[in-house]
């Protein structure tokens, strides 16, 4: 078992004929993912690495029973692509595209929710259920099946940490890159809930960073969980970022800084690694 991606996942790739789309379709196929369709308006009838290309999501879903989609289209077209996939009936949407205007994300997320669609991202490395399937751009060789879930706001930092886990013999159920944007489809807390419902996952690693209040909310949730949680927070020495007027300060009321996040985790009994390589050591301390 794993979360989000299972053996039943039939993946569609939106923007499959682009440079990124082609490259990562190959990698996802190599990983054993059932990539059943791709879309690229005007390119119907062609193939990318043996995957049939359709003009629209509707045709792709009708023709292949795709039930999940990964989006590689450029930012100005990503909202259109997301709504099209939701309308076509997929139940999982992974948006890799970065720099999507967040007003577009503000439109997509409530619509997806109303239609019962789970969105991961945008601006994320995707999802990998170790040994089963991958939707996104995470490097295949990093993962090894095992009992730990990973949730991360970052891309390369996730690779760094998963790599350390794999080297230490601590395999993964699923690694979820929830994305680094202010408006994302699945929050850290919601991703934690998914792992709580997965009997295979024996513990969860949270990779957070400064800004927003996702880590503080995740810490509060972790307190209620039986499954152990370990964390790392990037940006402890980063310069204070732009301040969003008074409104940002009023909303976060002191939260959002590295100190606030580390303290929230500590108060919830979640151990916080000082550097990425410490994550495997922390897991070992809990799970001898």
């Amino acid at each position: 078992m794993a979360v989000l991606l299972t053996r039943e996942t039939r993946l569609m790739v939106q923007g499959i004929t682009g440079h990124q789309g082609q490259f990562h379709t190959k990698a996802m196929l190599d990983y054993g993912t059932k990539v059943v369709a791709g879309t690229s308006p005007g390119k119907a009838g062609s193939e990318v690495h043996g995957v049939p290309v359709f003009d629209s999501c509707e045709e792709a879903v009708d023709g292949t029973r795709a039930n999940a989609s990964v989006i590689f289209v450029p930012a100005p077209f990503a909202k259109d692509a997301a709504i099209e996939a939701i309308e076509a009936g997929v139940k999982l949407l992974v948006i890799i595209t970065e720099r999507i205007p967040f007003h577009d994300a503000l439109d997509v997320m409530p619509y997806a929710r109303a239609k019962g669609v789970t969105v991961i991202g945008p601006n994320c490395p995707g999802v990998c259920s170790a040994g089963i399937a991958k939707a996104g751009i995470m490097p295949n060789q990093l993962f090894t099946p095992g009992p730990y879930g990973v949730i991360s706001r970052s891309g390369t930092l996730t690779y760094e940490i998963v790599n350390e886990m794999t080297n230490a013999g601590l395999g993964q159920t699923t690694c979820v890159g929830i994305g680094g944007d202010p408006i994302i489809g699945t929050s850290m807390v919601e991703a934690l809930e998914m792992f709580e419902g997965d009997p295979q996952t024996k513990g969860v690693v949270l990779v957070g960073e400064i800004g927003g209040t996702a880590e503080e909310e995740a810490a509060a949730h972790a307190k209620t969980m039986d499954t152990p949680v370990w964390s790392y927070v990037a940006g402890r020495t980063a310069p204070p970022g732009k301040r969003m007027g008074h409104a940002g300060a009023i909303i976060s009321s002191g939260m959002g800084t590295a100190e606030s996040k580390v303290k929230a985790f500590a108060d919830a009994g979640v151990s916080v690694a000082r550097y990425p390589r410490e994550i495997p050591e922390l897991i070992r301390k809990t799970h001898q």
Binding site: F23, A27, A75, P76, R99, I100, P101, F102, H103, L106, D107, M109, P110, Y111, I137, M138, P139, Q141, L142, S152, R153, S154, G155, T156, L157, T158, Y159, E160, N163, G180, P182, I183, S187, V207, E209, I210, G212, T213, E217, Y232, A234, G235, R236, T237, A238, P239, K242, M244, G245, H246, A247, G248, A249, I250, I251, S253, R274, Y275, P276, R277
Partner: protein, 368 residues
């Protein structure tokens, strides 16, 4: 994207939000006929202007020009004041607060208002701030404005104006791809009018392509940061002395954290993103070298990035710029071994882990 006050006023006006009359001036003579009495304000992208002496009141045009003379050329934080804005002095009876921003947790726009606006808004007790989420797909419905007016407990004639301003602020928020639209204070004048006493506007950088009219507005970047921005490189100058090049925001921050743990301090950091194009790597080094770091720490974790291509870019850059700044490199990715050989031949230190790299960078800094 941030906006000077006068520019934000211009945009507010476009949406019909009442703002004070004002005149922009780059030299004192530009204030031939300022609105009187007026406040002459330094146009800079940071707060704290008042404390720095960048805001002065004037009763006559002569006083206004003298104030402009005093403020222009003044340093406020890292900025030199190039323009002042002479704005009609408001006769304020009450200061309110009004803003529209995003609430990440709720994934929705948030309208906030308070009858206790002004300087100390952050210390106003939470129960005195009205917060109303707005469903983005539905938009601002009239009931939101009715609830807002009722909860602020304002006299009818003031409430009507505040509701109208709130409605226009939301239109601006959506129409201009804003992250924040804030008026503090929203001034209730003695003559009964409600006017934006201040205007704060931040627009989403990712939406720049939809607003080409804002592309050339000055931002709060150092000249070197501006140069990097023009080349599409994420580069931030800090106050330490170790230059950091990494890929991805999270990994870049983690690299700075590890450096700090080992007793070093980042002097500038550059996020290379997902590239292994040697030309891009070369450009990155060119920018970073201009920040005069005592040592450069390169930390690349590339799942699909070709490590040897990155290494070639580094070698070419150092040769092209004749730099003798020591470089510590930690590159993970495809063809790692070949990358290490290239780096070693070029006299660079290649390490396996971030921690080791950070230690070595701190040590080399001490030797130079």
């Amino acid at each position: 994207m941030k906006f000077y006050e006068y520019k934000a006023h211009e945009i507010f006006r476009k949406y019909g939000i009442p703002v004070p009359r004002g005149v922009l001036a780059a030299k004192p003579e530009d204030l031939a006929e300022p609105p009187l009495p007026c406040v002459v304000k330094a146009q800079v992208l940071i707060g704290g202007r008042g404390k720095a002496g960048g805001i002065k009141t004037a009763k006559t045009a002569e006083e206004a020009r003298a104030a402009a003379q005093a403020i222009l050329g003044m340093s406020i934080g890292p900025y030199t004041v190039r323009q002042v804005y002479a704005q009609e002095l408001l006769d304020i009876a009450q200061e309110l607060y009004l803003s529209v921003t995003i609430d990440r947790s709720a994934r929705a726009p948030l309208l906030m208002a308070s009858a206790l606006g002004g300087m100390d808004i952050e210390s106003v007790p939470p129960e005195k701030i009205v917060r109303i989420h707005i469903a983005p797909l539905i938009g601002l419905q009239p009931y939101v404005l009715r609830n807002l007016a009722k909860r602020l407990a304002l006299p009818q004639e003031v409430a009507t104006q505040v509701s109208d301003i709130a409605k226009k602020m939301y239109a601006l928020f959506r129409g201009e791809d804003a992250e924040l639209v804030e008026i503090n204070p929203l001034a209730v004048l003695r003559d009964g009018r409600v006017v934006a006493g201040d205007a704060k506007l931040i627009v989403d950088d990712s939406a720049e392509y939809r607003h080409p009219e804002y592309a050339d507005l000055p931002q709060d970047r150092t000249p070197l940061e501006e140069e990097a921005h023009d080349k599409g490189i994420t580069f931030i100058q800090l106050d330490g002395d170790i230059g950091v090049i990494a890929n991805g925001a999270g990994l870049t921050m983690a690299t700075l954290d590890v450096l700090n743990l080992k007793g070093g301090r980042g002097g500038a950091f550059l996020d290379l993103g997902g590239t292994d194009d040697p030309e891009k790597v070369k450009q990155a080094f060119e920018i970073l070298l201009k920040a005069r770091p005592s040592v450069i720490f390169l930390n690349i974790f590339g799942g699909i990035t070709k490590a040897d291509t990155v290494a070639l870019g580094v070698e070419q850059a150092l040769r092209a710029f004749g730099s003798n700044v020591p470089v510590v490199a930690r590159i993970k990715g495809v063809n790692e071994e070949r990358a290490r050989a290239i780096l070693a031949n070029a006299g660079m230190r290649s390490v396996e882990t971030v921690e080791h790299g950070a230690e070595l960078a701190v040590q080399l800094r001490g030797e130079h």
